[in-house]
């Protein structure tokens, strides 16, 4: 009889041993109950591993993994960078160092678009506090932003709250709420106090910052900006819903 080696035993566990050698292994094991027990344990633990991890196959794949993530991520980070550069340009104009040749979009909408472009592609940390702790989230951000915030419910439009985070904006603390639809499309609502000039209530204004569309308005000394990579009319429908809920 040819000698049985450890590789044969492993292959036996995996059921891939060629028939000729299998007979040899079976004879070997028949004489050695401890070895047979060892291989049985290997099979049992392999089966247990499959029982633990096979359910992952049945989970829905997160939207960010179900499309070409590289291009999307590259695009959105590049977008954030380009907005930032443009934002710096606007800042210079604002300080009177360069005469404004074109009317730049207001910095508020641009800041909101940058914040959207930075956080919307995040997989692991899109928000600081999740929607499962909505009460805590609202209390915390209300305190920091300085007003009683309300979080619009946009479920009827297909967008559920993911959560929110605190940001630093040009005029102080900013609350950012993030929403997501079943396809993974994300919207952010950016809210901050408006100080100084331009604090009066305004109608909706629209700004297109590269691919990010922004509707923004000022209401009772607070600025609101809703951003998303959506068509203008689709975003307007959501902006209307937000406005109505904040002004019942």
């Amino acid at each position: 009889m040819t000698q049985v080696n450890e590789d044969d035993l492993q292959a036996y566990v995996d059921g891939v041993l060629v028939a000729a050698r299998r007979t040899g292994v079976e004879t070997y094991l028949a004489e050695r109950p401890e070895e047979a027990e060892r291989l049985r344990a290997y099979r049992a633990q392999d089966a247990a591993l499959r029982a633990i991890f096979d359910p992952v196959l049945a989970e829905p794949v997160p939207p960010t993994l179900a499309e070409r993530p590289a291009r999307r991520r590259w695009r959105t980070y590049a977008l954030a960078a380009s907005l930032l550069v443009a934002g710096i340009g606007v800042g210079w104009i604002g300080r009177g160092m360069v005469p404004p040749l074109v009317s730049a979009s207001p910095s508020f909408a641009r800041s909101a678009a940058i914040a959207h472009a930075v956080y919307a592609p995040e997989v692991r940390h899109p928000v600081e506090v999740g929607a499962d702790q909505e009460d805590h989230l609202v209390k915390w951000l209300s305190k920091r932003v300085g007003t009683d915030l309300r979080v619009p419910k946009l479920g009827s439009l297909g967008f559920d709250l993911v959560g929110g985070r605190l940001l630093s904006g040009p005029q102080g603390p900013v609350a950012q709420f993030m929403y997501q639809d079943p396809k993974g499309q994300r919207l952010t609502l950016y809210i901050s106090a408006q100080k100084g000039e331009g604090r009066g209530d305004t109608a909706f204004r629209f700004s297109q910052e590269d691919r990010v569309s922004v509707f923004y308005w000022i209401d009772d000394h607070y600025g609101y900006a809703l951003s998303g990579e959506l068509r203008r009319d689709a975003l307007l429908a959501v902006a209307n819903a937000v406005y109505k809920q904040l002004n019942p």
Binding site: Q10, A41, A44, Q45, L49, F53, E59, V61, L65, R68
Partner: protein
Amino acid sequence: MDSHPILEHVPRLRRYARALVGDRYAADDLVQDTLERAWNKFHLWRPGSDLRAWMFAIMHNVFVNQVRSRRSEIERTMEELPEIAVRATQSDLLELADVERALRGLPDEQREVLLLIAVEEMTYDEASRSLAIPVGTVMSRLSRARERMRRLIAGAQQAVPLKVVK
């Protein structure tokens, strides 16, 4: 787009990543980084060759380069796992929690081989290509991984209360 061959492997990559790193979010980050490379390098894949092994090879490289640098974080997460009472078990009826804990007790290179063979059900040759190691090394790591698992599980079944495996 949904039918792109890369996307067909995403559920398997997620299962492997979850088993490899344990934490759900870290696992999906690993999958995302793997997919980014796969999309960027897809023109380098030879049509007709084994796409699954190619993608698992990418994940192996990302894992080695990136996740190992987060080792301390993962180990901290492990220590936070609640201790569980160990019930008496029959020899072939294993507590899944013990098995998962034992899996965490394997060195990375043994865990990779064991998962590719036992869970992904690759052939030794496929595992060898995915990990860029000779088949003989696959066999020796597989043997060591299975034996170490067995001992860790046996230890867990005897110890009451269970101590965190090293």
